[in-house]
């Protein structure tokens, strides 16, 4: 039996297939590039070529693009990232008490007690202290983001960079560059700033109890792991599938949803051949002037988002997928 999980995030779209024993059969990490439909379809295409004929017992979606992804594939469960991350982490290790998750535009802390989420916090409207900030600075320094961590570990000295606001951080960093500090010291300073920002903003007032899992795309960065350990004074664990935890959680939630419902709604890998289109328009029905997006599969509308009154989405009867 196999289960499919898809996590459509701001930066990456992750697809995973797991079996009954939680063994990861396939994982795909694709860039979303602002086009969630393309990313999901591209992922399905790869899976189709490799695993055509394999039976998918259940499919689940998560991430900020979870509703659009669910409309595309016919998901059995649509869950928020927090629940998905927590469920995946607990499946791998029952003793996890805290999850530090840093993604493209969100950073979160999740604390767990007796096997359920007892508290969580997410960053507010500002994206300082998230992965996209590091991405941008890597670009500015002309260093591939994948090598960021190694650079940070090389530094013997950390320089202080203001981490509270991405704009301040950037100008602070440029000033330090102009003073002649080397790249690795600056990168270590950035990692320290991000951790400081995380702990005083998202993690403020939250007790960080061991065992701590560090998940999300940013966990790939060894410099970040070291900076966290340095600030917290104990070891944190980066799980094997750190960048897939949301997708794994979605697959697990879908698995239990299908146990209840009996059969899956998943439309199959042939979706890779369908022609998807999204069309947006401003509804003139009332003064709210909602921006409505319509998802079209082979010229038939399959989903609708953004209409506050539900005029279009209810008509398509997908409303139950929008707020589970």
């Amino acid at each position: 039996m196999n289960y499919l999980g898809i996590d459509v995030g701001s930066v990456s779209t992750d697809l995973i297939i797991i079996d009954d024993n939680m063994k990861v059969i396939e994982k795909l990490y694709l860039k979303t590039k602002g086009k969630p439909i393309n990313a999901v379809q591209q992922g399905l295409k790869i899976l189709k070529n490799k695993y055509d004929g394999i039976e998918i017992k259940a499919a689940g979606t998560t991430g900020s693009g979870r509703n659009i992804a669910s409309t595309l594939i016919g998901a059995d469960a649509v869950k928020n990232e927090i629940t998905a991350h927590a469920i995946a982490a607990l499946q791998f290790d029952k003793n996890v008490r805290t999850i530090i998750e840093i993604g493209g535009q969100d950073s979160k802390i999740i604390t767990m007690k007796n096997g359920v989420v007892s508290d969580f916090a997410m960053n507010t409207v500002c994206a300082a202290g998230t992965g996209s900030f590091l991405d941008r600075q890597a670009e500015r320094l002309c260093i591939p983001i994948e090598e960021f961590g190694d650079y940070a570990l090389k530094a013997t000295n950390s320089i202080r960079i203001a981490g509270r606001c991405a704009v301040f951080a950037e100008s602070d960093m440029i000033h330090k560059q102009q003073l002649g500090y080397n790249e690795s010291e600056i990168i270590k300073g950035l990692c320290d700033a991000l951790v400081r920002n995380y702990l005083t903003n998202v993690g403020k007032g939250k007790e960080i109890v061991q065992k701590v899992f560090f998940q999300g795309g940013v966990a790939a960065n060894k410099g970040m792991k070291a900076a966290f350990e340095n600030a917290l004074g104990f070891e944190i664990v980066v799980p094997e599938h750190y960048n897939m935890m949301g997708a794994i959680g979605a697959a697990l939630i879908a698995k239990s949803a299908v146990k209840k419902s009996g059969s899956t709604k998943f439309k199959g890998f042939d979706l890779a051949n369908s022609l998807f289109e999204s069309k947006s328009f401003e509804c003139e029905g009332c003064s709210n002037k909602c921006e409505v997006v319509r998802i079209i599969e082979n010229e038939a509308a399959i989903g609708c988002f953004g209409d506050r009154c539900g005029k279009y989405s209810n008509a398509l009867q997908v409303s139950e997928n929008l707020l589970v």
């Binding site: 359920v116 007892s118 508290d119 507010t124 709210n288």
Partner: protein
């Protein structure tokens, strides 16, 4: 004479009084429509950038109706309760509007001290003079408006829900469904009942307020702090959601005070600003509701003894 009443800020709490009063003294009333994208855009266009969203939206409402009316009401609310004040932006609201929006009509900007009826009556005379000279009419209209306002119950108390939360924050964030993206409806749809501070008496609110090292002088801080801490410590609800305007100074203080008092009781702060994409809000609400459900299931699994 046509008087414009912008549907922003404390309109949601006191519209019965304002509308009744001006109608009774013989004015024709033009209330701006519910907040919509056009009003939001107008507000953001005219208002100074540093202001919070509710102030910007108020600007939008003024801009929307200013050309249709002879005179516009810009309430300069100074006080609602004895020895308490409200956000200073209310005191300077008329100046903010006049300096930002061009071609303004005449406006009623007299200070409103609503902490006692004598002071409020003085406002009624000053404001009424723009419409009528008949002091008897002003007196009678004022009284009728007061009676109608006190008979009008604001607040939300949903019943028959398995999970209930206290929804707290400034009234204009709670009742402004455009910016809070219909949060009450969203919560109800996911099986969560809502209660707001209007359904808790001042006496009960003041229990925890009295324990603070000094009496708070902001009305909304006292009310929100007293309400949320009482509901949490007495376990009247399963969780608290606080709607906060981005960059609100008062909220930054009250949310910290609440956190200090309620310990690990479920508490979610939602920041409201210009964004109209609902994904961020939905994720937070959904995760919070999930957490409350699972906590509840978990608690019922654990035997109460040993």
């Amino acid at each position: 004479m046509k008087i414009g009443i912008p549907k922003g800020l404390l309109y949601y709490k006191y519209h019965v009084f304002l509308e009744t009063y001006f109608k009774e003294i013989g004015a024709e009333i033009v209330v701006s429509p519910d907040t919509n994208k056009e009003i939001l855009d107008l507000g953001v266009k005219y208002c100074v950038d540093e202001a919070c969203l509710p102030i910007k939206i108020f600007h939008g409402h003024v801009a929307k109706i200013k050309d249709e009316v002879d005179i516009i009401l810009i309430p300069r609310v100074m006080q609602l309760k004895e020895k308490e004040y409200i956000c200073p932006k209310f005191c300077g609201l008329p100046e903010m509007v006049f300096n930002s929006i061009p071609n303004m009509p005449k406006a009623i900007t007299n200070p409103i001290y609503a902490n006692n009826n004598t002071k409020l009556y003085k406002w009624a005379i000053d404001a009424g003079k723009y419409i009528t000279d008949d002091i008897n009419l002003i007196f009678n209209s004022f009284n009728r408006a007061l009676i109608k306002q006190s008979a009008h119950k604001t607040g939300i108390r949903n019943e028959n829900f398995e999970i209930n939360i206290a929804l707290s924050g400034h009234p204009y964030n709670i009742y402004e469904n455009f910016t809070n993206m219909n949060i009450v409806e969203k919560l109800n749809k996911s099986g969560v009942g809502v209660i707001t501070e209007e359904y808790l008496s001042d006496d009960l609110k003041n229990i925890n307020v009295k324990k603070l090292y000094k009496k708070p002088f902001w009305t909304f801080l006292r009310e929100n702090y007293g309400f949320t801490t009482y509901e949490a410590l007495e376990k009247k609800v399963d969780g608290i959601i606080y709607l906060s305007s981005f960059a609100c100074g008062i909220d930054s203080v009250v949310t910290e005070l609440i956190k200090d008092e309620i310990g690990d009781f479920p508490f979610l702060i939602l920041k409201i600003d210009e964004q109209t994409g609902e994904a961020g809000l939905d994720t937070r609400i959904e995760a919070f509701v999930d957490m409350l459900e699972r906590r509840q299931e978990n608690e019922s699994d654990i035997p109460s003894h040993g």
